[in-house]
């Protein structure tokens, strides 16, 4: 029974806290969705605004992640030793994300500069295919199938 007693001691705010965090998560999700709906009407040409809104969504996502881990998973009320063994290794993600996304972006720029075929193919507009005709690039193939 000693375990139960220990846990009650640092159990946090109880049901009141759960309701508070639920409200936070709901509000954050609704703001994310509102930004998402707003972004539908923003043209692709306004790159800066779209990037800014996507950045805002990522910040809201991190806030949601914090509330889930800190309160629902109870990490905020654990000992500092335990928090550190979990949070410090996860800090590697900061480097992972920066390094890999930078690398992907650099690869795109290199290909656009030195591979004219890649640039041409990925900037050529195409007609939207009809429902169910996925993956069949040549029109002849579709007609041939219909003839059989």
């Amino acid at each position: 029974m000693s375990h139960t007693a220990e846990h009650n001691e640092h159990a946090g705010g109880g049901t009141k806290e759960v309701i508070k965090i639920t409200v936070y998560l709901t509000v954050l999700t609704i703001i994310e969705l509102l930004i998402g709906f707003w972004m539908i009407d923003i043209p692709l040409t306004s790159v800066g605004l779209r990037m800014g809104l996507k950045g805002a969504i990522v910040i809201l996502m991190m806030a949601k992640a914090f509330y889930i881990v800190a309160y629902f998973m109870h990490l905020k009320h654990e000992m500092k030793n335990l928090i550190m063994t979990i949070v410090v290794p996860l800090a590697l993600f900061i480097w992972f994300i920066i390094a890999f996304l930078y690398d992907g972006n650099s690869f795109k720029n290199l290909r656009n500069t030195y591979d004219p075929y890649f640039k041409e193919q990925s900037t050529k507009k195409v007609e939207k295919k009809e429902h169910g005709a996925a993956g069949k690039h040549e029109e002849g193939k579709v007609e041939e199938k219909a003839a059989h």
Partner: protein
């Protein structure tokens, strides 16, 4: 021993007390979840790298605009996925309530909240099954992408490959979570925890379930919103 008593916070590793103050199983569940976070992180970062290295990408509002029982061609972007998100948040809340009921040795509360959590998990899986089925009918699958990029250029299969792999892996986690919660429910109903004198196992199942919710926060943002 008088020195340890006067300065307890600075002597965590001095012996005579538990430095983490949680039981073994919970520490190990945290480390398992950390490794799982790296697995999901690797998937999502790989997706991000490919997306950053491509000129165009499909518009999620064009791909995910359908709703069950809605007429063909209805345009309802973000609606269905926001329902899925709220289902998972609410099931996470009922799981917290189950864990709290366990602390108070309240068997009835544990059983009631576990049942709600399981219902939420099954509802989420049903939504995902419908969405996968719908996309499959539209011609989307691993290696097949019927959608165009947002700017009207031809799209590669990277989009569908990553979408089905990552949501599939997450869905498999939800499925395992539901199985674990059903086992917890059976153990609670058959008084296994009452005999042990504590409901600490519910806490570990709860950690896993919250992690599943946490991963969905990232998947939802990366695939449906941005």
């Amino acid at each position: 021993m008088a020195t340890t008593a006067t300065a307890p916070t600075t002597k965590s590793w001095g012996g005579g007390k538990s430095p983490f103050n949680v039981e073994y199983g919970k520490v190990m569940m945290w480390y398992f979840l950390m490794s799982d976070a790296f697995t999901f992180g690797a998937f999502l970062i790989s997706y991000g790298t490919i997306r950053f290295s491509t000129n165009g990408w499909p518009d999620p509002n064009e791909v995910f605009k359908s709703f069950p029982f809605a007429p063909e061609g209805m345009n309802a972007p973000l609606v269905f996925v926001s329902i899925m998100t709220f289902i998972l948040i609410i099931s996470s809340v009922t799981m917290v309530l189950a864990v709290q009921a366990g602390h108070n040795m309240d068997k009835k509360g544990v059983v009631k909240n576990l049942i709600w959590t399981i219902i939420g998990g099954i509802a989420f899986l049903s939504c995902q099954a419908w969405e996968w089925n719908h996309l499959h009918h539209e011609g989307a699958w691993w290696g097949s992408n019927p959608f165009l990029n947002h700017d009207g250029t031809a799209s590669s299969t990277n989009f569908t490959n990553y979408f089905f792999t990552i949501t599939g892996f997450h869905g498999f986690h939800v499925f395992s979570g539901v199985i674990i919660n059903i086992i917890m429910l059976i153990m609670a109903v058959t008084n296994k925890f009452e005999e042990r004198g504590h409901y600490l196992m519910i806490e570990k199942a709860g950690l896993y379930w919250h992690f599943v919710d946490l991963v969905w926060v990232f998947v939802f943002t990366c695939f449906y919103l941005i």
